[in-house]
């Protein structure tokens, strides 16, 4: 038996989480280094996956399969396609940066009388817990990108809520305008809202998972897809539609799609910046990934049936998210609404059912992860310096901290999809792919690029330019640790903007497969069709 690479990629952070949590309370720094080391090790394993993955080869590669719950045919079945392996790469890449950026986020408060009041002293070790939880999330996210058994995927999809819940509810920004008490309340509210929204989505999905088992008699993605393709498994139209809706609802909550988005600004606003990145750049991607893998593959007919409505909702998300971002006063909530707009693009690309749209959507997931990480982490550095999330509390930062301002601007330019940076490639592909099938949606969505410029540049102007505010005076520029976090992300944004071919080569075959699953062909160019 060959080395179980996929299991190892998930097992390493899982074991790392346990080990980190077990580090004695006094050795906080050791726990941090251990977590960082584990995340880098996971990145190495993910890189090996990328190298060993053959773009032209079988659909699912590096597969593993073991019986798990025999009574129901639940198997521990893993495999990656181009989309999965790209997203595992993204996850493994971002976690070390998230850990490094959050290096001091869970240190005990030095100034206040005792440790953070939400944790009883002694029983809970916040620092170890913080990093252990991040690794736990990584393990589950990676495994969910690998799972080809529907039930296994479902378990992971739900289970990752638990560490996320504690990360959001337990660790917030240090200084809060309304005091510690109010901050704790708002954090709890955000965490519970996150949990309940996603639990409800998950429960509906559970019903659909059970329904699928009843109809298909199997949880194996491969078996069901093969049976559907060969015609041996027939689903009544209504059954398929109901099952599709059950799955889609859960993914749309997680992604999130308008109008199920309202938990995201709360969660991203209250969580620390690195955790906010974890939510939007990593965990939420499971939702859009699952739309591609499960909705389109298992329920192709129902997917096509629902497409017009979903595309409209996605367009609403794009415009609505962007407009709300314009209206925000809180830096982190602004980024959250921008993300909602971007998730609209991803979902629109997936359901446009064109090669460009789906390749674009997959690239978008990766690029959005990197660009949001760059913007949000720098925003976090900024917030940690001043102790406020309000845009109006800043002004003139560029003058005192030019490097911070410069990196913030680049993160912002990536968010507004400036050509030359990675997000442009994916956004344009999504727009072109949508336009060729739904011209009206494509045109309306293009308005999003104007609005994106508006919220990014207004944010930059209000925080970074103008006269230097008194509270901003003396603000230190980026430290070495912070620069080490941001610089590689920016480098990657530029590289993937100029030369995305390595990524498209991996993604294209998977998209071709998905297109054949839904039996859709790209519309022909008009001039060619006429010939």
């Amino acid at each position: 038996m060959s080395f179980p690479l996929l299991t190892a990629t998930a097992a390493l952070p899982a074991l790392g989480a346990i080990a980190t949590a077990a580090v004695p309370a006094a050795r906080r720094t050791a726990a941090k280094w251990l977590a960082l080391l584990v995340s880098v090790g996971t990145l190495v394993l993910a890189a090996i996956q990328l190298v060993r993955f053959e773009p032209g080869g079988a659909r699912y590669q590096l597969t593993e399969s073991h019986a798990w719950i025999k009574d129901f045919g639940v198997r521990y079945e893993l495999g990656v396609d181009g989309i999965g392996v790209a997203l595992i790469g993204l996850t493994a890449l971002l976690i070390p940066f998230i850990i490094a950026a959050g290096w001091h986020d869970a240190d005990p408060l030095e100034t206040s009388a005792g440790p953070d009041s939400s944790f009883a002293a002694g029983r809970w070790r916040p620092t170890q817990g913080f990093f252990a939880l991040i690794l736990a999330v990584e393990a589950m996210v990676v495994l969910s990108f690998e799972a080809t058994d529907v039930f296994l995927f479902y378990i992971l999809f739900e289970a990752m809520l638990i560490p996320m819940y504690f990360l959001i509810g337990g660790f917030g920004d240090r200084a809060h305008a309304q005091g510690d008490e109010a901050a704790a309340t708002q954090r709890s509210y955000a965490a519970v809202k996150f949990l309940l929204y996603n639990l409800v989505g998950g429960l509906i999905m559970l019903a659909a998972v059970i329904g699928l088992y009843v109809v298909a008699g199997s949880f194996s993605l491969n078996e069901i897809a093969a049976a559907r393709a060969s015609g041996s498994l027939h689903m009544a139209t209504n059954t398929e539609r109901l099952l599709f809706l059950g799955f889609f609802f859960a993914f749309a909550v997680k992604a999130p799609l308008w109008p199920l988005h309202t938990w995201l600004p709360n969660a991203m606003g209250e969580a620390t910046a690195p955790v906010a990145v974890l939510i939007t750049a990593v965990v939420d991607k499971v939702g859009t990934f699952a739309m591609l893998r499960f909705c389109l593959q298992l329920f192709p007919e129902a997917s096509k049936w629902a497409t017009p409505v979903i595309v409209v909702l996605a367009v609403i998300s794009i415009i609505y998210g962007a407009l709300l971002a314009v209206g925000q006063r809180d830096i982190k909530r602004l980024v959250a609404y921008a993300s909602i707009s971007h998730f609209g693009f991803i979902i629109m690309g997936i359901f446009a059912m064109t090669s460009q749209g789906q390749s674009g959507a997959t690239l978008y997931m990766v690029n959005h992860g990197i660009s949001t990480a760059a913007l949000m982490l720098v925003a976090g550095f900024l917030i940690s310096r001043r102790g406020s999330r309000l845009i109006s509390d800043y002004g003139g930062v560029q003058k005192v901290a030019p490097v911070l301002a410069g990196t913030f601007l680049i993160g912002g330019l990536a968010t507004l999809s400036l050509p030359g940076l990675a997000p442009f490639v994916s956004e344009f592909l999504v727009l072109v792919g949508t336009f060729s099938r739904y011209p009206a949606a494509g045109v309306v969505a293009t308005l999003g690029i104007v609005l994106a410029a508006l919220y990014v540049l207004v944010l930059y102007q209000r925080t970074m330019t103008g006269p230097v505010k008194a509270e901003v005076q003396g603000m230190p520029d980026l430290k070495v640790r912070e620069l080490l976090v941001v610089a590689p992300l920016i480098g990657l944004l530029i590289f993937l903007g100029v030369y995305p071919k390595p990524l498209t080569d991996i993604v294209n075959p998977a998209v071709r497969q998905t297109m054949s699953d839904v039996q859709k062909k790209d519309p022909n160019p008009v001039v060619e069709a006429a010939k």
Partner: protein, 648 residues
């Protein structure tokens, strides 16, 4: 030889990377490095030009495929370059004027602590602009298109600590993004129509597409051009863009970037030629802007804003010419090049004046400066004569040709367009003479001048003094600044003659843009005579108004039109009321609705199922313990469901 094309862009790009990433250590040498690389780019351009001249007219296009950029099923985007006579013209203009302005900036920005960054941005601009004109497909052109927008944003807002500069930069980027949306949609239509957006495919197969699709592409390209070239209705950013340092105004907002729209339309000539209706729209846009810019130019007291109005108006001439089709393309580009020389020269002259006048921009506080700044006076004067079309100078050749082409359009339209372009020539002569007289002649109004309070009525907000409040001591600028001005003055004087006599420029560009004489109902000499008469009327009026009488230090209230023109013909007020205020109301109400309605409805729906809302409200009120209950509840549900399934 074709490898040099990539090097042309790489040189300034390298400069930008080094200057922007390099630390303070580079402060001492940064400006030299930036200037050297701009110069290197010009030398490479010159080598390529000589090489091109060595080949026959039909074999001058060079293409270079660099790498496959975005390879996706059914979608092929490449990084490839196309150097033909049209892009060659731009390459020489961009790198030539660009290098001169780098040299000028060494002196102009000498005391700025961020000079290194300034040169980094300038180099970035050169790289993006070269990419724009060298791309062999529309998507890569788009990269350059937004790239120059970024450079423009960074440079307008270079003095970020000034709120007005930061606002102007943001405005420029946003208005340009509206135009970019047009380019983006145009590319999408091209893709669905031709399956490609390479120049060769799109422009070669235009005939195969329906006129509806060509119309859509043409209109969207025009929208893009309006944004970048500050044409009505997207012109509002250019005046504010004067917040940037003056060398920036000269290079980006006069000579090169703002003319990108003219390049885009000329490059896409095949599409526009196929849809005459769109051409009519192009002509209308050009004509309206021509008058709009000229009127605004007459009313401004800020020397840079007056010149900005003029830029808008002159680009209006070019856009009008491109709308005429093959009669006009060549002359649009010819005017673009000569305009590049004299307008860059005028801006550099204005910068030189400001340099000697404590950064004062209000012409009402200039006067009689010719004695103190002889070089600036002579070079500015030559640029002035060139722009008003004084016989024998550059503007005379290029603008005259556009006026002739307007008549040659034929029919009633031809007469209307001809008359408007003549009127424009008269107004141009008027406002430029006004600038000239107010600045260099008459009483020395800066002596004992008090700086008016910014909130004093009648004073433009932009005309506040930025500099010291002492009485200025006008003086000539250093050599690094005057030499570029002298070189550009040579261009202003001779370029038109070199291009125009013997139809050299027509023969040079014809293989790319094609050319058609048209049937002018008016003889050539009549047009020339009419132009000269218009010129004299304009000059005469301005001299009578500003030369014969003393210029009041504070602008008189003026007629309704004057007051409107001072406010950019109220377009900004319209934008403010409709877009800014309206937008604020929209986003504010959406923020409210998102909280109360969307959140409320979703929570409420859930509440009717599981009491979610009540539990959430409790938590918000501080019942911290109940979240543990919620959590436990969730876990129980999961376990129960799993068990339930076992039982199925």
């Amino acid at each position: 030889m074709d490898n040099l094309i990539a090097l042309l862009i790489a040189a300034p790009l390298l400069g930008a990377a080094v200057l922007l990433c390099g630390g303070r250590k580079l402060d001492k040498a940064g400006h030299w490095l930036g200037t050297l690389l701009a110069g290197a780019s010009f030398v490479i351009g010159a080598v390529l030009f000589v090489d091109m001249l060595g080949r026959s007219a039909d074999h001058r296009t060079v293409t270079k495929h660099l790498f496959s950029w975005i390879p996706v099923e059914g979608f092929q985007a490449d990084v490839g370059f196309q150097l033909d006579q049209l892009s060659m013209t731009f390459v020489l203009l961009i790198t030539g004027v660009g290098t001169l302005i780098h040299i000028y900036s060494i002196g102009y920005m000498e005391h700025d602590e961020n000079r290194r960054r300034f040169f980094g941005y300038l180099n970035l601009f050169l790289a993006a602009m070269l990419l724009l004109v060298l791309a062999d497909n529309y998507l890569l052109l788009y990269v350059g298109w937004e790239g120059v927008g970024l450079a423009s944003y960074l440079l307008i807002g270079f003095w970020q600590h000034k709120p007005s500069a930061a606002t102007a930069a943001k405005k420029a980027f946003l208005v340009n993004r509206v135009g970019d949306m047009g380019l983006s949609i145009a590319i999408m239509v091209m893709f669905t129509t031709f399956g490609s957006f390479a120049f060769s495919t799109v422009l070669g197969e235009t005939g195969g597409a329906s006129s509806g699709r060509n119309t859509a592409i043409g209109l969207m390209l025009l929208l893009a051009a309006c944004g970048k070239s500050a044409q009505v209705p997207l012109q509002s950013w250019l005046g504010d863009a004067m917040e940037g340092p003056t060398p920036v105004s000269a290079l980006i907002h006069a000579a090169t970037m703002v003319t990108a729209g003219v390049y885009l339309i000329t490059r896409s000539g095949a599409i526009f030629n196929a849809v005459p209706d769109v051409q009519t729209v192009v002509v209308i846009v050009g004509t309206v802007t021509l008058l709009f810019g000229a009127i605004v130019g007459c009313a401004k007291d800020d020397i840079k804003k007056a010149l900005a109005g003029s830029t808008m108006s002159q680009i209006g001439y070019m856009v009008l010419a491109t709308g005429l089709g093959p009669i006009g393309y060549v002359f649009a580009i010819m005017h673009l090049v000569t305009h590049g020389f004299f307008k860059a020269g005028l801006f550099l002259g204005a910068g030189s004046v400001m340099h000697g006048m404590n950064d004062e921009v209000d012409m009402r506080r200039y006067g009689g400066l010719r004695k103190y700044m002889p070089v600036t006076f002579v070079t500015f004067g030559l640029g002035y004569l060139a722009i008003i079309g004084f016989p024998g100078l550059s503007g005379f050749f290029s603008k005259d040709k556009i006026i002739e082409a307007a008549f040659a359009k034929g029919g009633t339209e031809g007469w209307i367009l001809g008359a408007v372009t003549l009127l424009g020539a008269a107004i141009t002569a008027y406002y430029m003479t006004r600038v000239m007289v107010m600045t260099f002649f008459g009483e020395e109004r800066w002596k004992h001048a008090k700086t008016p309070a910014p909130d004093q009525p009648g004073v433009e907000p932009a005309a506040q003094t930025h500099g010291a409040h002492d009485e200025p001591h006008p003086h000539e600028s250093p050599k690094s600044m005057t030499i570029p001005m002298i070189v550009l003055a040579f261009g202003s004087v001779f370029a038109g003659g070199i291009f125009g006599i013997g139809d050299r420029f027509v023969k040079w560009l014809e293989p790319v843009t094609s050319f058609d004489h048209g049937n002018s109902p008016v003889a050539e000499w009549t047009v020339t005579a009419a132009t000269i008469v218009c010129l004299l009327i304009g000059v005469g009026l301005a001299v009578a108004q500003y030369g014969r009488k003393p210029v009041p230090a504070v602008a008189p209230r003026g007629s309704l039109l004057t007051r409107a023109a001072r406010r950019d013909l109220l377009q900004d007020d319209f934008n403010h009321v409709v877009l800014v205020r309206g937008g604020e109301h929209l986003t504010r109400s959406l923020v409210y609705l998102d909280h109360s309605l969307v959140d409320g409805v979703v929570n409420g729906t859930a509440a009717s199922v599981g009491g979610l809302s009540g539990r959430l409200r409790k938590l918000q009120n501080g019942f911290a313990r109940s979240y543990a209950v919620s959590m436990f509840g969730g876990a129980v549900v999961i376990i129960a469901a799993t068990l339930l399934m076992r039982a199925v």
